[in-house]
């Protein structure tokens, strides 16, 4: 793997993906906001061309009208880091599964499906992982009504 420069990488990716990719930076991460249709393309590029072989974290945030799926990628051993985000509408909460690119996405995607109710297209075994199978609702959504004390 050749040494990569994050700046160069972002520039190149922006050229290749055009307006589907919007790059922002916060204190800690370079954030690649990608259109959900181009997600697998970008991820494959990141893994194969830039050595991001470690999908550390796969999470999701409920922003009301939209969900955001967040991927934190690291490269071992080069130790670069990048954050990929994609927004999907609440009504048709579906995004491509990354299980073919990183098998570690398997349970992480199942967890997001379980708790946030986002469907992953192409996942071979998309069933609940933490909650019982007969559970109704997705508790991490902000409109989930909590019971109890």
């Amino acid at each position: 793997m050749q040494e990569i420069n994050l700046e160069q990488m972002v520039q190149k990716l922006e050229e290749q993906l055009g307006d589907k990719l919007i790059t922002t930076r916060d204190q800690f991460f370079t954030v690649l906001n990608i259109d959900k249709m181009a997600l697998p393309t970008l991820m494959l590029k990141l893994r194969d061309d830039y050595g991001f072989n470690h999908l550390a974290n796969l999470s999701s945030v409920d922003y009301g009208e939209e969900f955001e799926v967040v991927y934190h990628l690291y490269s071992i051993p080069a130790n670069d880091k990048v954050c990929v985000k994609t927004r999907i509408p609440r009504i048709s909460a579906e995004v491509d599964s990354l299980i073919d690119i990183w098998p570690t996405a398997d349970w992480q995607e199942r967890e997001v499906y379980d708790l946030m109710g986002i469907k992953f297209k192409g996942h071979p075994n998309l069933i609940r992982v933490l909650l019982p199978d007969d559970f109704v609702g997705h508790p991490l959504r902000k409109d989930f009504v909590m019971g109890g004390r």
């Binding site: 974290n57 999701s60 945030v61 934190h72 071992i76 349970w107």
Partner: protein, 366 residues
Amino acid sequence: MMQSDIYNVNVGPIHPSTHGGLHAEAVMDGEIIQDVIVHLGYVHRSVEKIAESKTYQQFVPYTARLDYLATNLPVLGYCQAVEKLLGIEVPERAEYIRIIMAELSRIASHQIAISATGIDLGATTGLMYGMRDRERIMNIFEMTGGQRLLSSYIRIGGVGADIPDEFIPAVQSFVNDIPKMMDEYNGLMTGNEIWEARMKGVGILSKEDAVKYGVTGPNLRASGIAYDIRKAEPYGIYDRFDFDIPARSGGDSLDRWNIRIEELGESGRIIQQALDNLPEGEVKAKIPKVLKAEAGTEVYHRIESAKGELGYYIVSDGGNKPYRLHVRAPSFINLMVLPLVCRGGVFQDLITNIATLDPILGESDR
């Protein structure tokens, strides 16, 4: 050609060797495992949802309940994540105390892993020796934080209180005894021929699979990748310490076991250095009573917990509570390779593999 039936055996959720509420459904052909289906969620407490209704400080004790065998590590990770988010500076003395407590927790967790592997493989006496040595760490935790197991001692901005006078001698004597403990575990178990026969070549996890499946921590290092977040992306003051990352290349159960024993010694080295350089001063930063992060800021902070990469992803909406908190639990992800490493082995290997993968269900189920 022999005709045989495939049958399923439910290992757990109530089974002596599943380290909590793990339910592994083994698909077996005689004594040979064809596949393992892992069912999780028996210890699910929806910690991530609870976090959304608690203030940043209030959530601290909950994090201790994630990895209840190494309580200071998840607390440290959370507190550092919040400090990163809010830009809080932690006093020097507190940093050193945190390192000591974190490494003690790592040792305690590894000792549980070691002794639990002992009892899972039938060496009951190994369990007692590991527990006996861990007891000394529990006493140190009781001395500093007041609680033995779930000591919520590390706080946002520092630690709960300064260390008592008897702390340093107790830690020092424990650190001095670590080589002796390692010798004992090695003598009783590692060197034992039966032990070696049960572990060598069992549950092989290749380098490539380990990375693909996102396995981290001792399990990754046993597969031949010397990757440790303490070195790769030092958090706190880990860059000031001199220590090695033990790594093996086989990726089998024996390697995973040996890595944990070697890490006891490395943690001992870190604690020794921290004790030698412990500065005087404050132990808690001056922070406001109500902590608020700027709206829209977010952080992903990861630490090397005893089980692997423990990450906290916190999103803030400007309030005093996290808008969204996600825990990247190493046990959850490490457990994913259980079917992979078990396939083709005999039933007893399943027990060995669960023990050496060392999952903690409180963390994996959250």
